[in-house]
Symmetry: C2
Subunit: 334 residues, 2 copies
């Protein structure tokens, strides 16, 4: 198995990316990696990689698509970037998957225009895994498609189902539709039109999930249009941060609080770990013709290694093939 890694993506590249790649290689002796980036910058970081060096090949990709340029233009013009070269390597079969902590827009555009959609899939979607205290749920889509049609949402459910079965080993993942009420007739025009289509879809649809229950473990996959999904994703970070800030402030306000904070440190550390995305890896881009994982831009080495591990599981779990078969089976119904 060979995965193409964008060495220049993310806030801590290339150092953390290379370190994370080495961690992933040491964990899985069958893994091979192509490191794409400016060879002059990447190669010197492989100093202590002797034990895995024979499983790393370097691909000189001197161009970088940054967060500050149009992703579509970047993917079109910067053909010597790791994003473009990696997507093409997956397309021609020389690599099995692609992982990047770089520009989300560039990964989306590269997936759409260089790698290509799975035939029958209307829109690929970005699908992070989020903590709910008990485990994780998938949120799909979280921003790739801000304006959606009901058919897209139905397919998001199909893609999430394939991921949860292939990667997480679930037999019958629960697929829910994010809505403002639990009843079938609730919601805006989009979700009202989506609901009956999901009832017919070839997966375990558990109905609407209200926003207050998103973190309540009512579904394994939560489907939303990319605008709503992005609100949920970003708001979760915001509220959690605000609440932790308020707690900290109130604890520091008097001696009793300070003492409590000191004694409770291990418990708070466990809470932080439970809510920590770096243990999960990244967000798969589902619906394209290959295993693509977008790691968090602020990934450290360990988080990036997890993202590579996730990509590996997607390949082993045949997620792309399952989506492809699923969408073929659905097509005649429409």
């Amino acid at each position: 198995m060979k995965i193409y890694v964008d060495a220049m993506g993310g806030d801590n590249a290339p150092q953390a990316i290379v370190e994370g790649t080495l961690e992933a290689l040491r964990k899985d002796p069958e893994l091979q990696v192509v490191l794409g980036g400016p060879v002059g910058e990447v190669e010197p970081l492989l100093g202590d990689a002797a034990d895995v060096r024979d499983r790393i090949s370097l691909d000189d990709a001197p161009e970088v698509i940054t967060n500050h340029e149009s992703p579509v233009m970047g993917v079109r013009k910067k053909t010597n970037s790791a994003t473009v070269k990696g997507m093409l390597a997956v397309r021609d079969g020389s690599c099995d998957g692609f992982v990047s902590a770089g520009s989300t827009g560039a990964v989306l555009a590269g997936g759409m225009f260089r790698l290509g959609r799975i035939p029958g899939i209307e829109r690929p979607a970005l699908a992070p895994l989020m903590p709910n205290g008990k485990g994780h749920f998938m949120l799909i889509d979280c921003g790739a498609n801000v304006d959606c049609k009901p058919e897209y949402l139905v397919q998001f459910g199909l893609m999430g189902d394939a991921y949860m079965r292939g990667v997480m080993g679930m037999e019958k993942p629960r697929i829910g539709l994010i809505n403002i009420g639990a009843e079938a007739e609730k919601g805006n025009a989009l979700v009202k039109a989506t609901y009956p289509l999901m009832e017919q879809a070839p997966y375990h649809f558990v109905g609407n999930v209200e926003a207050r229950d998103i973190t309540g473990d009512q579904a394994d996959v939560l489907v939303a249009d990319g605008f709503s999904g992005n609100l949920v994703l970003k708001f979760m970070e915001g509220v959690a941060g605000t609440l932790m800030g308020i707690i900290k402030k109130e604890m520091m306000a008097d001696l009793r609080g300070k003492l409590s904070g000191l004694i409770g440190k291990p418990a708070f550390r466990r809470v932080k770990k439970l809510m920590d995305y770096t243990e999960i890896g990244g967000a798969p881009l589902l619906g394209v013709q290959g295993a693509v994982v977008k790691a968090h831009g602020s990934s450290n080495a360990h988080a990036f290694a997890s993202a590579i591990g996730q990509c590996r599981k997607m390949i082993r779990g045949r997620v792309v093939e399952t989506i492809s078969e699923g969408v073929k089976a659905m097509a005649p119904r429409e």
Copy 2:
């Protein structure tokens, strides 16, 4: 000043409603209240109200619109409900405002069809005040209008501006648009079309506010379509609840955590109070021809008294008149 109170609305009616009304009357000697409900049920609760009894009149309204029926049908058929009688009392000027902890749908439908919109206002909106740790921000709309046009959102900003100036005494409230990115060109079709219109609007538009900054005190009024707004409202409850649950669980997991929880109790109590909606009152229904406040369904007496206080401030602060003048001034531009 006379406010019509729906005595039968909410989980704790009529007991908590009547108690809250007495609390509000004792706080403001100029306040008069009409208590609408089945007189036989309401009157016996006024036993210890001798000091304010002369400022309470009872209006026999034997019918109740519940959460389990169509609000529109309820408002059409149950003409002897407090919701309908109260809205009509505000409409004919015999009362200045209306407060209910009952069915949100019934308050909306009553406001729309019995009380009526302010001329020029496209859609009234429900606008709760939410805690951000430092103070409160208004979220408008939070569910009354699930499918919106850009013009509605522009008017939501105008209504929020009028409320913040009239009730909170702000000189120049900051009006923000909830979006998935800070840049003007971000978002779905709706918010992209709304942004340039808000730039032209006669209030202090501060641009897009990303979901992660909703609780970050970047705006005093946050505008959203009712679907997105409801997601934000309900998700905030959900995440906060989940996070507090995780913290509690981890603290109870060992002796050290338990000790920390015990010592930190006063700090946690302060956090809870900061995040507590009952101190705020209810959500104003803005855009109708009167001061209408929807109190939380689970309001206790104190929360309901706060909702009456909020309605009082809306009347004193001339919120309805300000919205009416604002929309008239905007009209020629369109």
